[in-house]
Symmetry: C2
DNA sequence: TAGATGTATCGAAGCGCTTCAACGGCCGGG
DNA sequence: CCCGGCCGTTGAAGCGCTTCGATACATCTA
């Protein structure tokens, strides 16, 4: 393995000069720089990560802590992970993948050993057991998801409350007065994962403002569960004319069931989904939806955490804050005027 | 940050003794060991990763290189990644997440810098551009997927050829003589990803042996594509009585479409899927399927790569080899006797 | 022209750990 | 009773890099 010393010898300069060429922390004459860079290329030199970490006490690694829950929708997690890894590389950092398996103890280990300079936590619950550790280890950290108390923390998430509001606004604008919401699995609510709660909160809030009735039902990720949920909804509220879904896994089954029951979308039932763009567009009926900007969330998390790492290095007072990405509702083919509403409320028009 | 030296002072021993307690590479009296361990606990000591890597030239990190292709089925990738991370921890290693973004150059960087001790490559193509680098950097590496030439390489994968054979055997046993295979997106075949090719090879081979006709059609991941594929299949081969699907994304749409067309599963059409267990069981009709053992693949990859790391440390001659996991076909509700075949071939019986 | 300033480079001191050679004490065998 | 061997422990030498003065020289100012 080529070392910095060998590069220095080859270029006829001292080791420190090579180091400064690499880091750019001191001015180096163009001539010397070029000579060193050529030597680096010719010898195929790669700085040793361990030595660098030891000397600089910076590992250039960001830890990404994933949940291990099976109820979470894996594609979104995956997309966030890919976004994190990709964006991290743009900041000359690598990503260490931590699973929930090891428990919160993993955070102590990684922070304590200096393995990672910073952490990004996914799937944060309202009362997350990792929060005390985040506050305790004074390393830069960013949460993807919103805990109950965001004091001293930096968080990124989609604005799910606003997402819920927009869904209701859109449907109410089309004349719907009885809306059902098919939510995540019951376990998600029990665990008090913020996003699910915030969505239904937003839905209820706007529904109250606009005089719309809402029925909320959680739903597991199976076909049977969806079938049961659907029949219960129409049993309890036969007048339901629109459904908001926030459970990617059962969107397909739901559309399939509605068709079987002879309920046309959007003529008899309007459907708004909260799901990744890809899921919305790949259904039999293109769904009006609010996209989950997974990539953007991962990217922003890295940018925020890198800002904090930089701030820490310069001793600046890293401001903590919460960043809620604004949701965007895209109208597609699955929503239309409520059955029995005068045609004046044209489907193409926006909110009333 | 607590250092080893501080632990040594606190325990009243030398630094090397603490190190040996940690590594177990020399005999330490029970008494001393306990004293040291208590100090470690009391001080909350975590060995510094960089220093350790520098001194031992082992980082205890495995790099996991993911593809960046959107056509790949993300949940499977994700499950493999989780399996890798989990298993790696059991071997006291961490996982570095590399995306295809950076290109094969990432391998050189990671190997050259000593950031990772070993690599696991996912989504390997038949003629993968990363293969030369794997052979060149003499670091332990394991591929998930099978390239055309496995010389000098260690690979893990499901035995897709056998998977294809088993699907045909099962269907032929039920009396089916005209089978259609709905495959992955055309791009997957163009890229020459091994698993898709090997499956259809296995299908064709067994079909030829058993005198079954096979029609193979790739299919994109959308509802429309599935609709088109299905109608083309029944146009060209109206006598088709069974379908093998190897494209997780469109399984839902396919079942939905079949129902719409009035084709009952399994009475009119039998369906065998090659997909994760979860996908097979969550459909409206539980699918007879060959599971994709994603977790097992990730786990085996780590075990093989760790064996090679250990072998390298002891100077043993690490044998390279290919490990094909045996597929298992699970009969569920989606396959039955071919229409028009005497009842003697009961659906519950295995292959004839 | 002496002194002040600035620029480009170098030398050396670590960073925290692993590991090797060496050492002292204890044992049993001759 | 002495010696060889073993066990448990230690000191010291790095691992390859960063970074802090210090140095040497060129440039500017009064």
């Amino acid at each position: 393995m080529v070392t910095l010393a060998e590069v220095a010898r080859h270029a006829g300069v001292s080791a420190s000069t090579v180091s400064y060429v690499l880091s750019g922390k001191r001015t180096i004459s163009a001539q010397t720089r070029e000579r060193v860079e050529r030597s680096i290329r010719e010898l195929g030199y790669h700085p040793n990560a361990g030595a660098r970490a030891l000397a600089s006490s910076r590992s250039n690694i960001i830890a990404l802590m994933m949940p291990l829950r099976t109820e979470m929708y894996l594609p979104v997690m995956m997309e966030i992970a890919i976004a994190v890894a990709t964006t991290a590389r743009e900041h000359a950092h690598d990503v260490l993948l931590l699973t929930g398996q090891e428990g919160p103890e993993a955070m102590r280990r990684v922070a304590g050993s200096g393995l990672a300079d910073a952490m990004i936590l996914m799937d944060v619950e309202l009362e997350d057991e990792r929060l005390p550790l985040v506050r305790e280890t004074r390393r830069p950290a960013v949460l993807i998801g919103l805990p109950a108390d965001t004091g001293e923390l930096t968080c990124v998430d989609l604005d799910f409350a606003e997402t819920g509001r927009q869904c209701v606004t859109h449907l109410a604008g089309l004349g719907h007065r009885e809306i059902a919401m098919v939510g995540e699995a019951a376990a998600v609510y029990e665990r008090r994962t913020g996003f699910a709660e915030r969505t239904i909160l937003g839905v209820r809030e706007r529904a109250a403002e606009l005089g719309v009735r809402v029925l909320h039902r959680p739903c597991e990720g199976t076909y049977e569960s969806m079938a049961g949920t659907l029949s219960r909804i129409f049993d309890e509220r036969p007048g339901t004319t629109a459904i908001i879904v926030q459970n990617e896994e059962v969107i397909g089954p739901m559309l399939s069931l509605l068709r079987q029951q002879g309920r046309a979308v959007p003529e008899d039932i309007s459907v708004v989904a909260v799901c990744p763009e890809q899921v919305a567009t790949q259904q039999a009926v293109a769904l009006t939806s609010v996209a989950i900007p997974a990539f953007e969330m991962g990217r922003r998390a890295v940018e925020l955490v890198m800002a904090r790492v930089r701030a820490e290095a310069t001793g600046a007072p890293a401001a903590t804050h919460t960043e809620l990405l604004p949701p965007t509702l895209t109208v597609r083919a699955s929503t239309g005027p409520a059955a029995g509403v005068p045609v004046a409320n044209a489907p193409s028009a926006g909110a009333r």
